[in-house]
Symmetry: C2
Subunit: 631 residues, 2 copies
């Protein structure tokens, strides 16, 4: 039906081809030291003059001839007439070869008395002490730091030759709108060139963002041929996968050489590399998560090889908190949250959905799974590359489970205390197992509750007694419908349900049980909406009659809503962590009026916020004796 | 004689006072996302709309109703008439609930045939999959990374509220000239505000550099009072020590409150902190090395506490290569070069001279010695903070000993291979001991030589047989004089000597020995010039008649010069390191015509460059049998 990239080039092989075809170009440009931080020196830089150029005083005091001071002692003070008063940094005049510090000088109007002799060179900064004229300041290939800027100025350097690469960033796609415009459904904001400019600039490159180019081979060809004149590298975003409108392979093959299309890496598989006028042309998939990966793991490797600054990545060993699978033959890059849990660094993978740009934001690092691996087991040690300041990893709180606004607001408060809360979305059972393995700090779970029933038995089943739960907030759950239905009216109505692990569903099952209603009698019981929003819109557009959701969700729609119980947001901690200052800080925030106000404003109830509940062990005394009653 | 800071405030106490007097100010400003990388969010940022807003295709293919596909199989193909062709990212129209990828579709003119059923939701990106309207994108106190910029644009954010601190940087000193002007002797280029602006900007602050202010209390007062209007922090560089012209304490005490003057830290002891209109005023010593330390260890700690981005320091454990002393009562910060040697990270301290700004440039990290310590022994483990990209430490070659241009040029060449050569100045004996303890990669030593004599016995004495030396270059040594003196003429002439560890001196001693001349008969034999330059200028201005120096040094002065022998520059390696690829790379460079040309141009001889010499053991078979002959 359509042309496709039939065979993938292996990642390592693709990198090899790229380096072979595009050796370093050695482009340089002269930059002022005021704009040189982060740039890379293209040649050695030598001092324009010696510093200091002459002998200087290293102390406030008097310059003397050391000969004149011979024999001075407490018992034998010497009075000097030939001296010269100097402050630190002032010239020691010719003929003086030592400085005596002011504390050791007794002075009257014109004469000075000393009680200690001075040795030749005492408290003198000799000429050239710091640097000598023509001495090396910086070698080539040096990434310039703030410190270096000051030193360059001191040694008479005001500009320098820096490694230079100009990069054209061209976004392609009819569906794109520029940042600031509201995209229509199916459109998207063009964000790749914004990200890429910041990323490449951080390596010391100069980027030019080009306007959005429509999905038209002639227009793309024109944009490409124009950009290649003014730049050493061209990166085209979008138009490289195999859909109807993906012209890129055709364009590059027509006006240049296609080196490969399709690489065994994920994300970023549909990338291509071409050569036009001997310059590299990258075709990068338009999905931001794939674009970021190709920029980071491919294009930037070329720039690094050409002498630009490698990203100051910090890399460390870590334990994987949750098993991840990976496809054989694909070098896979997975965003993770890394945190120090106890004495280990643990990492939790984020969503690998191609459309989930938030996984770049929510993560603070990433891992690489070689093409030869089918996956990595929970607890295995892996290498993780950190994308935040390394010290942040030590202050990261890793929470697994339900992501909700009341947890985000807790994170906002914690950020003022220097913590970084990372909440990784997992099923409750998964979150509790990760917590049990000591691979995260806390599990974030939701539980159903009515005034006379708590659906906590599954918690106890999983984690046992060495844990406590702390209530963060509660949200009211109720029956949502167009026509003010009650729970008794469900028989005959078309219900829209939620998955079994959602508190609304647990509450329904409990109510059906109480009312001795069989689930199979509820029409639509098997119909599981993925989100409250989906449920509510099904009810609004008439394809269902009723469901169970939070009051706030119902309120936004104008549907009627009847209270049935609560959804409780809980953090589960190991009992031992109650002694940690972090846990103490969380409890203080939960009890603070500021936090309570902020979640009350969003419709949560704070009646139980900050209260502790020990998790009763489902199995008393390890696994030996059973007790099916929850205490 | 002058006012002085009589009592020092302890470092930790000074930090405590600073934080107590200046709580976070909560200043913010709105910045475009195009300029937001590195800034810190001042409030949580929420998505303006859901992404995607509607269901989208996650594959190129056809959108279908999953109901219509039930039962499709290889044996039972189903032909669909109701379908809609979609590319990845396009809207899945209402009524379709699955996408079948193009590979699984057989198409003729208007109809599609499939051989596999589709489940509801298959290859569909549901609305809100990435983010839902109002969902948290970034928490407050988040340092914005390039990735975040792209995501913010995608979610409809074009500007954000960032933590904001405006900092006035005011240089004080009659001796200062602006960057680019050539300082007269005793003057210096004003480089502190250049360095500080880069450093603070890296934390997300906005800096204003003010013009150089003269050493005049009225002018300083005016500059300070003006700067405090437009900024939240004022940093005054210079004018804080106790010399005649140091007005700063007086100025701050007159128009504001002096909190402390003199802190138990080195460098940076004379710093002061004052308060003017409730804003912090830092008085920072003018010496760049002290200024850098106060900026890094003091001012930036306030900014960090106020919510700016902490410097992305990387900190690690390391072994100290050489004992360092430290003064009790002073928190001492020492620049070091850190490198991985074998399986350990080793650090070598750099010069602590207040005037040696190059120590900031030559180092790639620093260590902190607590006020309660008198020093740290060689081999002890300490914490080191790295100021270069962490990965560079692994590629750093740590060489101890003589620093010379032929070594620098070797470093230049090595930098193209990805190595960072750090050459730390130490005495030859010290360098060899550090090498023996495996605390550096190589020792850089100089040896005297004539055609029939080599002064290598001290090498053998120190390191023993497990080492080899590799010649880097040789420089000719000879007798320098105004009047074409020969070695026989020395009796009666006023000689200027060099210290005992310098090859020129060893050569002289050998020659005196050969000629049976007693050293005490040489007038000026005890007179030791610290550098060749000092020696040569003493001869030029007539205070001495002759000395021994390199041909290049003599040539620059027009003095006469008579060849006597050679100074040989050698790298000493452990024998075992001959197997390392690094050593191989060094040897390849030494043998390359490019390197040889570059040092020949500087007057070195390359006859022996790259040649190996095993270091004969002075003690044969460990220390049991002596042999005073060098083999």
């Amino acid at each position: 039906m359509k042309r496709r990239y039939l065979s993938l080039t292996q990642y390592d092989e693709a990198i090899r081809i790229m380096k072979e075809v595009f050796p370093p170009i050695g482009m340089t440009e002269r930059v002022s030291i005021e704009h040189a931080t982060g740039r890379v020196t293209a040649e050695p830089i030598y001092a324009s003059y010696s510093v200091p150029e002459v002998n200087l005083a290293a102390m406030d005091g008097i310059a003397v001839r050391s000969e004149d001071t011979k024999g001075a002692a407490d018992q034998h003070p010497i009075t000097l007439e030939n001296y010269y008063q100097v402050n630190t940094g002032q010239i020691v005049p010719d003929g003086y070869d030592a400085v005596i510090m002011i504390e050791d000088v007794w002075r009257d109007d014109t004469r000075c008395t000393i009680r200690k002799s001075a040795f030749p060179g005492q408290f003198i900064r000799p000429a050239g002490e710091d640097i000598r004229q023509g001495e090396l300041i910086l070698p080539p290939n040096h990434v310039i730091r703030p410190f270096d800027i000051g030193a360059l100025a001191t040694y008479g350097i005001t500009n320098l030759l820096a490694v230079s690469v100009h990069i054209a960033l061209i976004p392609i796609g009819d569906e794109l709108v520029p940042a600031g415009a509201r995209p229509k459904p199916g459109s998207a904001v063009e964000s790749n060139t914004l990200f890429a400019r910041e990323y490449f600039s951080g390596m010391g490159a100069t980027c030019h963002r080009y306007p959005i180019t429509r999905d038209d081979p002639e227009i793309i060809t024109e944009a490409l041929c124009h950009a290649v004149q003014d730049n050493e590298v061209v990166v085209l975003f979008g138009g490289s996968s195999a859909g109807t409108k993906d012209w890129l392979e055709w364009v590059i093959s027509s006006c240049g050489d296609l080196l490969f299309h399709g690489v065994g890496m994920k994300p970023g598989t549909p990338m291509l590399l071409g050569s036009l006028e001997d310059k590299p042309v990258f075709g990068v998939p338009g999905f931001p998560i794939a674009a970021a990966c190709v920029i980071r793991e491919f294009a930037s490797r070329l720039l690094e090889w050409w002498g630009l600054a490698p990203y100051p990545l910090f890399s460390t060993r870590a334990h994987l908190a949750q098993r991840i699978h990976s496809d054989l033959g694909y070098e896979e890059f997975i965003q993770v949250s890394a945190a120090r849990v106890g004495d280990r660094i643990c990492v939790m993978p984020h969503s690998r959905g191609n459309g989930v740009q938030m996984s770049l934001v929510r993560s603070n690092g990433y891992i690489r799974i070689p093409a030869s691996h089918e996956g990595i087991d929970a607890g295995e040690e892996i290498q993780v590359r950190i994308t935040c300041p390394p010290s942040q990893v030590d202050n990261t709180l890793l929470v697994c489970g339900v992501r909700d606004e009341c947890i985000h607001l807790l994170g906002d408060r914690l950020s003022s205390n220097g913590y970084h809360l990372h909440c990784c979305n997992t099923m409750v059972t998964g979150a509790l197992r990760i917590l049990q393995m000591k691979n995260c700090h806390a599990a974030s779970v939701t539980l159903p509750r009515t005034d006379n029933w708590e659906g906590t038995d599954h918690l106890a089943r999983i984690v046992g007694r060495d844990f406590i739960r702390v209530t963060v907030a509660e949200a009211e759950l109720g029956l949502v419908s167009r026509d003010n239905l009650k729970i008794e009216d469900l028989d005959g109505a078309r219900f829209i349900n939620r998955p079994p692990w959602v508190p609304a569903r647990m509450l329904l099952d409990m109510l059906l049980d109480q009312n001795a209603v069989q689930a199979e009698n509820i029409s639509g019981y098997e119909n599981q909406a993925r989100s409250e929003d989906t449920m509510v819109s099904a009810i609004r557009n008439g394809s269902a009659d009723a469901g169970i959701c939070r009051k706030r969700t119902a309120d936004k729609t104008g549907l009627s809503w009847l209270p049935l119980g609560y959804e409780s947001y809980e953090l589960v901690f190991p009992l031992a962590s109650l002694e940690d200052s972090t846990t103490a800080d969380i409890l203080i925030i939960l009890k603070s009026p500021q936090y309570r106000e902020s979640i009350t404003r969003l419709g949560y109830s704070t009646t139980r916020t900050g209260s502790f509940t020990p998790i009763a062990s489902f199995w008393r005394d390890s696994e030996s004796s059973w007790n099916t009653e929850v205490v």
